[in-house]
Structures are given as C-alpha cells and as structure tokens.
Symmetry: C2
Subunit: 209 residues, 2 copies
C-alpha cells in the first residue's frame, strides 16, 4: 500500500504544508530522492499529483516550484469554497440522517471543549475537528464530487492557516456558527443552512486575508 510514490507525495506535501519548502522555492528531484532514499522516478510521479492539486507548479524543462498564492488567490478560493460549501450544506439539510447529525454534534462538542484552553495543541486539534465537521456535511450532501472539488481547492489556504494565531473572538464566532448549522440541519431548513455556511466561511477567511 505504501509505494515509493506515496512516500514521496507525503514527504513533499508535508514539507510544503509545514513551510519547510517555502513558496516559490524550487523542488529538485534529486534532492528529495536522496532525502527519502528512493530514485527520481517515483518523485516525478508524486510531483504530477501535487501539481494537479495545486501544491506545486511544474514548468517544462525547468522543474517544480512550490506554488505561491497571492491574496487574490486566497480571495478567489474563499469565494469558491463559500459557494460550494453553501451548496453542499443546502442539500445536506434535506438529506441528512440521525447518524450524520450525531457525528456533527459530537464534533461540535469536542471543538467547544478544546476551545476552552487556548494551547497550540488544542488549536491544531480544533483545526482538525473543524475540517472533519465540514467534510461530514459535504459527505451528507451525497455529492461525491463536491468533496473532491473542495478538497483540491482548500489546500493552498491550509498552508497559510498554519500561521494564523489563536483568536478567541474568531473561535467563539465559529463555534456559534457550528451550533446554528446543526439547528438548521435538525429543522431540515435548506436555505438557513446554506446561508449560515456561506457567512461562516467568508467570516473565517476574513482573518487570514
């Protein structure tokens, strides 16, 4: 299951996400190959995947560079996420079942617990839980491709988000949104869910930009 190409994929991806490979930096095949201890071939395979997902850019005969996203890019992506996730939330409100709802309540509760103590570890935990919360809603929409599209879209922002700090106001707002979303789902109110989600995403992005 863990092919050399997969190793290379994870290696480069995490290096980009952690900031070890900085935006605009060139990613040399030989160098990565040495560090992992494999040949260049699977590195190239991984790079194709990473390029398709927007982590890096491959220029013909000039190798790969870590993509650097402008604030304009961030704005574009945020707008698209708002549209797509609002769409997903709207459908989910009609299709969501008891099991899905329980999961959302559970995730929401865990986030509230974690947000009580503002440590770095808790902040990362909240980020993780929040991601799962959003994915659960998209999954509940029943549109498999929606998850793919948003997944590929979100990555650039995740890199930047690593650097954002623990902001209690933003956090409180976010928690409140989650509770309200669950209410909308409980009532099966499509428009409400959609509107909250849109506002939720635009508001959370406001801090970053």
């Amino acid at each position: 299951m863990s092919s050399a190409a997969d190793l290379a994929y994870e290696f480069i991806k995490s290096a980009v996400m952690s900031g070890e490979f900085r935006a605009g930096d060139r990613v040399k095949e030989e160098l990565v190959a040495e560090q992992i201890g494999i040949s260049r071939t699977p590195i190239r395979t991984a790079m194709q995947r990473l390029a398709a997902q927007g982590f890096i850019e491959i220029l013909h005969n000039q190798g790969a560079r870590v993509a650097n996203w402008s604030s304009e890019d961030s704005r574009e992506i945020t707008e698209l996420r708002a549209v797509l996730e609002a769409f997903g939330a709207g459908i989910a409100a009609k299709r969501i079942n008891a099991e899905n709802l329980d999961e959302l309540r559970e995730l929401s509760q865990q986030m509230e617990d974690a947000s009580a103590k503002p440590t770095v570890a808790n902040f990362e935990r909240i980020t993780e839980l929040n991601s799962r919360f959003h994915m659960a809603i998209i999954a509940a929409s029943g549109n498999a491709r929606l998850a793919d599209v948003i997944g590929n879209l979100a990555h650039p922002l995740l890199v930047q988000r690593k650097f954002s700090t623990f902001d209690s106001n933003r956090l409180a707002r976010s928690m409140s949104d989650h509770r309200e979303l669950i209410q909308a789902f409980e009532r099966g109110d499509s428009d409400w869910a959609s509107a909250i989600m849109r506002a939720h995403i635009l508001a959370s992005a406001e801090q970053v930009a």
Copy 2:
C-alpha cells in the same frame, strides 16, 4: 513545447473522448507507448495528469482504466456546473466589459448561423463555440480558479455529449438562452444572468440524462 508526455496526454485524451478507448477499458502503458513510438515513462507522466482530471482511474499495481461515469456522476457534475457557472455569470454581469460583450455576441451569432444547417460538422462547430461562449463568461468573472475547477469538472460530460444527436428543439432553446444571457450582461443584472445560466445548464443536461 511538444514533449513526449504531452503527445501521450493528447493521444490518450482524444482516444477517450472519441470513444476509441471505451469506458472501463484498461489502458496499458506498453500498448500506448508502441502506438506513439515513445517509451513508457512519458506515458506514465501523462496518465497521472489524466487521472487527476478524471479521464482515467489508476489502481495501484493494476494499471489505468478509462473512467466510466454513471448517470449519478453526470447528475452530480451537472449540479456542480450549474452552481459554479451561475456563480461565475453573476459576477461577470458586474465586471464584464465591452470587449467581452462583443466576443459573446460574435460567438452567439456564429452559433446561430451554424445551427441553421443541421450537419454533423456544424454540430461539432456549435459544441466548440458553445464551449468558448461559456469559457468567455467564466473568464469575464475574473476568478481564474473558477475556470480550472469547471474545466476539470466538465470533461466527463463532454465524452457523453459526443454521442448525443442534433436536436433542433434543444438547440433553439440553447440559442435563446445565449441571447438572454447577453441581455442580462448588457444590463449588468447579476441575479438574472445567474438564474439564466443555472436554467441553461440544467436544461441542456436534461437531454443527456
């Protein structure tokens, strides 16, 4: 500019689009390599790109297969296109300039001309012009990523659409939509443009499904 990998990409892509490689068919590296007259290496590079765009699916140690899209897939993609293009049209209505509008009018006129004579060649020409019409609107929205997302999304439907026949009713409806869209853009009416685009896409997909 024309690397071996690019050749392989175009070769496989057109084979899939034309139906030469049918849905579910296995795409063997050696076979394609022989036909083009290059080695397997660039074939694999191309396959990674094609897999990322959803043309083929790569299974670990089991090679690549031409993706086969169910009617459920088509429905999902159509819904997403409707959401995304409606979003794009809405923004475009506010940002569109005279040059963009001229291009749309020109494309619309050419489509109407071509639709007068129902030949296969004209049908393909209309398909091409229609694609450019939609892309022009997305471009006018100013969201570069929107084009990427829709581009990757639209492909599976294009494959199926190749098989759809020349339907004068559908065509007339489509032409009418285009004219109405241009009107909405001329007035800068965001909601109107968005609504027409949504209906336009859902209606045009109805025939396929």
